[in-house]
């Protein structure tokens, strides 16, 4: 599995984690290129469908990352996201999508270092778990 390079889809909120990713870049921090960032205005707008679709299309992991509790630009979007992630973590593992493939984190706008570290750790962990079976199977 040495040559396995996971694909991670990351839904990051405009106000915190996306800004943190931007900061990681302008600070010239390096992190693996396995992650595909999708900027959303708030984690509260990440429909469970987006996550399900990502897994069915073969994403090896999905990261949803937004503002710390209490810091949401829209007051409470991240709390709603947390309930949806709780829901998906109770549904997806039944069908063989390892629970560790779906992560929710809070990374604030000034946490560029944290963002880079999160991606590094996530890539390492997913490499351990191996590829998502749905990547090549005829599952749509």
């Amino acid at each position: 599995m040495d040559d396995f390079e996971p694909t991670i889809i990351a839904f990051v909120c405009n106000w915190c984690t996306y800004t943190a990713a931007d900061l990681a870049g302008t600070s010239r921090l390096s992190y693996p290129t396995n992650v595909r960032l999708i900027r959303v205005m708030c984690t509260g707008m990440v429909d469970p469908k987006y996550i399900i679709k990502a897994f069915l299309e073969g994403a090896d992991a999905v990261l949803v990352s937004g503002c710390h509790p209490g810091d949401c630009h829209y007051i409470n979007g991240n709390y709603k996201a947390r309930r949806r992630i709780k829901l998906l973590k109770s549904i997806l593992p039944r069908y063989g999508f390892d629970e560790r493939r779906l992560k929710l984190t809070w990374i604030g706008a000034s946490d560029g270092i944290q963002f880079a570290r999160t991606i590094r750790e996530m890539v390492a962990e997913i490499k351990e778990i191996g590829p998502n079976e749905a990547k090549h199977a005829a599952v749509v």
């Binding site: 309930r83 829901l87 973590k89 079976e133 005829a138 749509v140």
Partner: protein, 381 residues
């Protein structure tokens, strides 16, 4: 404390005494209509029927093993906007539970209805019911109860009570104003009327029913039914788990799906006016299909079937009452209720929620708290 009364007319059978009881209910001045399963004049199919004339209630047949749709949807139609008139609605336990979910989702209202719940021994899927009823639909309920109340699940012609019903652990109505009980009684002619709510007790009194104690045999009959049902439910869930525990196995399980979306239409708690799966979001360009096929080597057509079913689980598994109408509606006999009942049990326990249990508990995805579910958040170092 609930009020109970035993209806036991020596001269009558269950069918005729139920009809007289409901005639009596509908004759009440403040009850303007009754929604109940009736054998229709044309072909004796049992469908929910809205009746205003008590004299037409002879073919009322709530215990016929026919369950063509979850009537919570019908009650939603009757109550989603104010109508002002009082309707008594005869519902199975899963229909009441679905209605409770719909009311919480603002798709119906309890104010102008009186819920008459019935003990539910289960039902057949639609095609099986037609076969079982055969030439004598008027005796179907009687023939069915004779076997079902003594624990039979298989009947003449090899028809079997549907899997969802055999796995159902709510055979006794909860949340009803009045309940009609048949478990643990002499079902040829007796039934028990109990009133559990203020509205129900008021009606109970006005009906002039005489009180009685619940016979001990009833509790025993319900307990033994529940233990059989629980055992079957566990087997069913273990079996579905084995059959669908990888994405590929799940796709195989759903491979007969033709995207007809009948399961979504039949589902009482899938209430969106327009389902996202019929919008332009899924009106893919031709090149998209080819791109998917190229990436994976092949794709099953129509596409988006696994996507659709998992999304539906995300949407309704916290509200699923396990009525089994999804399986009933599937033209290709996919065991959807097994899949959804199993999924619902994990999602509902994740939120310490039970669909249909109470009007007071908010549906999990409609609320949030600041301090909860830290277990799903990765801790930063």
């Amino acid at each position: 404390m609930a009020k109970t009364s035993l209806c036991d007319e020596a001269e009558q059978n269950l069918q005729t005494s139920l009809a007289s009881f409901f005639k009596f209910v509908l004759a009440m001045e403040d009850i303007h209509a009754l929604l109940a399963p009736m054998r229709l004049p044309a072909n004796e199919r049992v469908m929910h029927t809205l009746v205003t004339d008590p004299e037409l209630l002879d073919p009322i047949d709530p215990f016929a093993p026919s369950f063509p749709m979850n009537a919570a949807r019908l009650v939603s139609r009757l109550t989603k906007r104010p109508g002002g008139e009082m309707v008594a609605v005869v519902l199975r336990p899963c229909e009441i539970r679905a209605l409770i979910e719909l009311v919480k989702l603002k798709q119906g209202d309890m104010e102008n209805i009186i819920i008459v719940g019935i003990d539910c021994p289960g039902a057949f899927k639609n095609t099986d019911y037609v076969e079982f009823a055969g030439e004598n639909p008027e005796t179907a309920a009687e023939r069915f109860l004779a076997g079902a109340l003594s624990g039979e699940t298989k009947f003449d012609g090899g028809v079997e009570i549907s899997a969802a019903c055999r796995a159902c652990t709510h055979p006794v109505p909860q949340g009803a104003d009045l309940s009609i009980g048949i478990f643990g009684l002499d079902s040829d002619r007796q039934f028990l009327v109990s009133a559990d709510t203020e509205k129900g007790k008021a009606l109970f009194d006005r009906l002039g029913l005489s009180g009685c104690d619940v016979p001990d045999s009833r509790r025993e009959a319900i307990d033994s039914l529940l233990s059989v049902r629980r055992e079957f439910q566990k087997e069913m869930m273990d079996d579905i788990q084995k059959k669908t525990n990888t994405p590929e196995k799940l796709a195989t399980y759903l491979s007969g799906c033709i995207n007809c979306y009948n399961c979504r239409v039949a589902c009482p708690v899938c209430y969106c006016r327009e389902c996202v799966f019929v919008t332009d979001v899924f009106d893919h360009d031709p090149f998209q299909y080819l791109r998917w096929a190229r990436r994976k080597g092949m794709i099953k057509m129509p596409t988006d079937t696994v996507f659709y079913h998992i999304t539906r689980m995300a949407h309704i598994s916290t509200a699923c009452v396990g009525c089994g109408q999804c399986s009933n509606a599937c033209p290709n006999d996919i065991g959807l209720s097994e899949l959804f009942i199993a999924s619902a049990s994990t999602s509902q326990s994740a939120f310490d929620y039970e669909a249909g249990r109470s009007l007071e508990e908010d549906p999990p995805l409609t609320v949030f708290r600041e301090d909860e579910f830290d277990d799903v958040v990765e801790v930063n170092h």
